[in-house]
Symmetry: C2
Subunit: 144 residues, 2 copies
DNA sequence: ATATAAAAAGACCTATATGTCTTTTTATAA
DNA sequence: TTATAAAAAGACATATAGGTCTTTTTATAT
């Protein structure tokens, strides 16, 4: 469903958020180790997330990744949009270039239902809500 | 959601089915033109579908693609499985290697709901049901 | 000031998906 | 039996996603 890059992005942000709650600013090497992702590539992904202003970073000694204090919850949708692109939730599931209610593909309505339930889910779930689930030991990030 | 290759595969099979109902056995060039897909690549995709026994083909004059007369309806799931691979509907949405009810990722249940609604849909919809929708002019394949 | 530890940046590499071109095989019609 | 029309096959080509390596920049501690 989602690309690996997006999966790394979400897991990385969740890990950063959890560490921030402990007062830590993890670097990409630590993050990669903890979320089980390729180190350098994770650095690149985090660069992109920082450029998209979904996370902040500091260079130099004591630097790392962190969220600015009063951060609005970050929905998974925002992350998906930043990594996969804006059209992710609007393409025709049947591959037609033009497909709408007037000129629908034969999957139109049924696909819309599935897509919308996915869309709803990624708008409800946030980096923060996932992190809380992990902190309550109701779920795992694979390590920690 | 689905790769382009799978989209071509589904559209091609629907077109073949519709033409078969008219007593025709279209070739890949005609199919590609009608479903708006790259010609040679569509030929390759159809080769794979034929190898997977989702469709039959005849070489030589008068040849082309067709379904054997008493064909069980072909679900979209079968096509997806043949093109995308068996694991398409079983991977963790969060990217964890091991993720199950005992050791769930923080998206486990919510993702399962979305994935299962997609799974249900592709098991209900068949090449035949999509073709019928198009024949009744309730939907379009882009041409025809 | 200097050393150090961190992210940023840029050049590259690899794998996979997607797509094209050419040749071979095969069924049918003339 | 030969010409023809079709799929099959194989060798390429291109684009994108995923990944690595090296160098540069920058903040901090000494």
């Amino acid at each position: 469903m989602l690309g690996k890059t997006t999966e790394y992005a979400i897991r990385a942000l969740v890990y950063i958020y959890i560490q921030n709650m402990e007062g830590e600013r993890p670097g990409f090497k630590e993050i990669a180790k903890m979320i089980d992702s390729p180190e350098q590539f994770t650095g690149k992904v985090l660069q992109n997330l920082a450029r998209a202003e979904l996370v902040s970073s500091m260079k130099g000694r004591g630097g790392g990744f962190f969220f600015n204090e009063p951060t609005n919850p970050i929905t998974l949708f925002k992350v998906i949009e930043a990594i996969e692109g804006k059209e992710y939730f609007s393409k025709c599931g049947f591959g037609l270039k033009r497909c709408d209610a007037n000129n629908p593909c034969p999957l139109h309505d049924d696909y819309a239902y599935v897509r919308d339930s996915f869309f709803k889910m990624v708008n409800e779930k946030t980096i923060q809500s996932l992190a809380n689930k992990i902190n309550k030991r109701e779920a795992t990030l694979n390590r920690l």
